[in-house]
Amino acid sequence: MGIMPAPTRWLLIGEWRAQPLRIAVAVLAIAVGVALGFAVHLVNSAALASFGRAVASVQGRADLAVRARSPAGFDEALYPRIARLPAVAAVSPVVELQASWGELARPGERGAGAPKVDGGRFTLLGIDMLRAARVTPGLAAAMAPSIGNQPDWDGDPLWLSPALAKAAGVKVGDMFGFTAAGTQVRWKVVGLLPGSEDARLAVIDIAGAQWRFAQLARLQRLDLKLAEGVDADAARRAITAALPADAVLATPEDEASRADALSRAYRVNLGMLALVALLTGGFLVWSAQALSVARRQPQFALLAVLGLPREGLVRQLLIEGLALGLAGALLGVGLGYGLASLVVTQFGGDLGGGYFSGANAQLAFPPLAALVFGALGIVTALAGSLAPALNAARQSPAAAMKGMGERPDPARPPRAWPGLALLAAGGVAALGPPLWGLPILGYAAMALLLAGGVALMPALVRALLAPLARAGSGVPAVDLAVRRLWGVPQAASLALSGIVASTALMVAMAVMVASFRQSVDDWLVAVLPSDLYLHLEAADAGGLAPADQARLSAVPGVTNVRFQRLQTIRIDPDRPAVMLMAQGGQASLPMVARTDAPAPPGSTAVLISEPMAWLYGWRVGAVHGVVIGGVERPLFVAGIWRDYARQWGALMLPIADYRRFTEDANASEAAFDLLPGHDAGAVQKSLAAALPPAVAGQAQFGRPAEMRKVALEIFDRSFAVTYALEAIAILIGLAGVATSFSAQVLARMREFGMLRHIGVTQRQILAMLALEGSGLGLLGALAGCTLGLVMALVLVRVINPQSFHWTMDLALPWPVLGGLVLALLACAAGTAVVAGRRALGQGALLAVRADW
């Protein structure tokens, strides 16, 4: 008979022609899910790839690199020592500094719609051209033709990457003014670096770098080329043995994986949300197929009588689902690509997460990923078609022909144990540890809890309604509605699942975002007690000299200044750098744990941030060694503070100790307390005037109120995608509920006809349907809220900490939750009534006869 016997083909194609709108909606639902997932993947890979390329071009693609633990660098005497090692064929010394030009944009003002600023950050490399030519030819290539050809340079020569030249608006031959290490210079652009489109990079001669930017006898990096045929591990061991305390060995893969790790948790989070969108698409397919099957029950009965075996019917309906999925997948992949292009231009490659600013993301079309996401869409559509297909095959054709159709049996109550088992499994999974740095078990717990809640609903409805069903209310419409819900809750399981899942997801995400936002706000209030703040961008190696600090402190209106020095240091070569914060004066921090015990003699008391405690496993009261200023110093952990700003850890020690360990007396931040009665704006102007001109472009002033506002805006922007996906999930869930109500009503047409015959009015039937809808909506919403709160707990206590290494306090936004639940209730009742209206026409009356 082939895959599709003629009668089934005729009837099924006829169905599609008769219901094009429903088919289109189901296809669209799958397409939206696939598009979102694919778009998120595309944008993230593009951003990552671009970021990776940028990082790689800054590194110059050497075999290995010796890197300094902090921007202060290491003694250049290391260079000849490493060069003499037999395993090393060539060494290129590098000075690497953070630099900036013009006015820098404030942190909250990136992306589309931001005011245009004529400044930015870039990386300045000082290299020895001859040595670099052997180790990192990419960096040195541009320099070769120019050297020796320029008899009269107005300043030292400078080579820019095309990305930097474009951003700064300079061409070859122009003068370019910039600040690095606290020094402002103006040099001539003599050439462009090929092959560095993504990075903002400038290259100068190393001697000039060391002399002009106060890096005499210091280097930040040694790029190494290993000798031919040498064993890599042996070479690594030999080099590591020769390193002083303030240098570590790194491979390019480490750098790339560090870049990957920086944003991995965020990307996985987005991916999970896209998965939610896809699942709700599957749900809509399920409800659309259920509706379609309910309508065609008599046709299927006829087919069975004519000789189509049950497996044939199941296969037929699955093929329908497959076709839906295929159409949706194709559409979704195309839509996803379009969406990704739009998003990259509007929001930047990190979708507002703040990880990849400055990188220029270009979208490519990856066929494999498209195939995977398309397949996901098809599988979802198939899964959604499975239950209705099996259900249709289960109907006894003879009974359907006589018009008895589905005969649910209230004597068999729905089973509670599958739902309970899933919930229990979810609870166990929620207690699990992170896997590969990701809260995989946490996500699994969310899925299990959701599935368990949905599976438990029929049994729960039965149990909750039993007292009401027994007692009776005396109002026929109420009694009929209650008895229907109590007697055959499985029939309503589709609508119930939709309501419960929608509500649970909505509540979980709303509570998580509200808790997070409240915690961030509270934290901001705690860490910003002063009246005015000054921050220098790109000032790792520069900053405010002691003289500048004195001048700032003397500005009228200022009662107290706390200076802070920020440096990045590498503690663990496998992890991103930690932020070292040398704090002058008493810091105001929200503490999570502390001890009043004094530091053991010889060690220095420090505070660490929550992410650092999580990542490095350091506890309060422990002593750990960290290399600061070239020597390992014992540090005593006196407390742990909550920090949302630095995801990879921060370490705070008194600035006096820092200045003792290093020779760095500069400051990169300042917090000013003002005298009462002094206008902050005026004081800010005086302070700006008192700044040295070299750092004027890097200086950013901020007042706590506006800093809080900007931070919360960044927060909201990074959750914009979450909000959007949540809204889509809810809409699709509600659409599914509407469709499933229609399916229910269709299946009960004859019942309504009979009721009208024995004297039930139209209004009573509508009231009964409204009550059923409201009852389902209420029970579903209550169950969904409870489930959602449990899932929110998992999000707040498990997924967020394991992803981002910070904790937050739970906050329940009651007004929002209440409003959303009421809206859901209204929708449920409304869709039930609308679906019921059709049942009250002549169709119902005539459906009372067995013939159709």
């Binding site: 049996d409 015959h757 139209q762 009372v848 067995a850």
Partner: protein, 252 residues
Amino acid sequence: MRAETPFAMVQPFVAGPPPLIDAAPILSAQGLAKSVPAAGGPRRLFAGLDLAVAAGEVVAITGESGVGKSTLLNIIAGLDTPDAGDVRIAGQDVARLNEAARAALRCRQLGFVFQAFHVLPHLDLARNVALPLALAGMPQREALARAEAMLIKVGLGGRGGDWPAALSGGELQRIAIARALVHAPPLVLADEPTGNLDPETARRVLDLLLAQARDEGAAVLIVTHSEMVAAAATRAVRLTADGLAAGTTLAA
């Protein structure tokens, strides 16, 4: 004259009270006409149809499929409006009543038995039978008690707590009969009540329907294909496009 048929017991004129011939008919329809939309213009189902059913009568309406028998029943019940003519049930003009009043009429004055039993699967047997009483506002306990009594009469006594899923077709139809008579309506409308049953069961069900109707004093209007059913009625008429014509009948 007593006819030697197996259905002697259902002939109301053999035993029991004499018919109330001079009482007003329970159902009186005059000049009914109805057309239905069809491809190529409206198709006339019937016109000039007159029908009177006296209390306690059993009238069978026969006719071809599609001739409009179900539509006629719906018109009588007030669920459909005729193009012309009027219907009076227990003296009330159905056309004058609004929707709520018609529903009340159906609830109190009419009983229905369908071909496809239409028992609600999510109510137990007693509640299914008690449905018309509950709709009329009777307190639950009293309604259930009367339903149990009715169940005994149809031979399903003591099974009020069972579920419809457990019953056979014949038993379900008995439930439907119980439901149609539990509120003692003066008129029962039956649309092919034996259509879904095998001949043995059909005869038993029909006997039950007519016996119970006679006990409760209800008139029965049956639409049927079946010769057997037509033969069991007091009067049989044939529905044609021009109205009702006399059909075969077993005169008392």
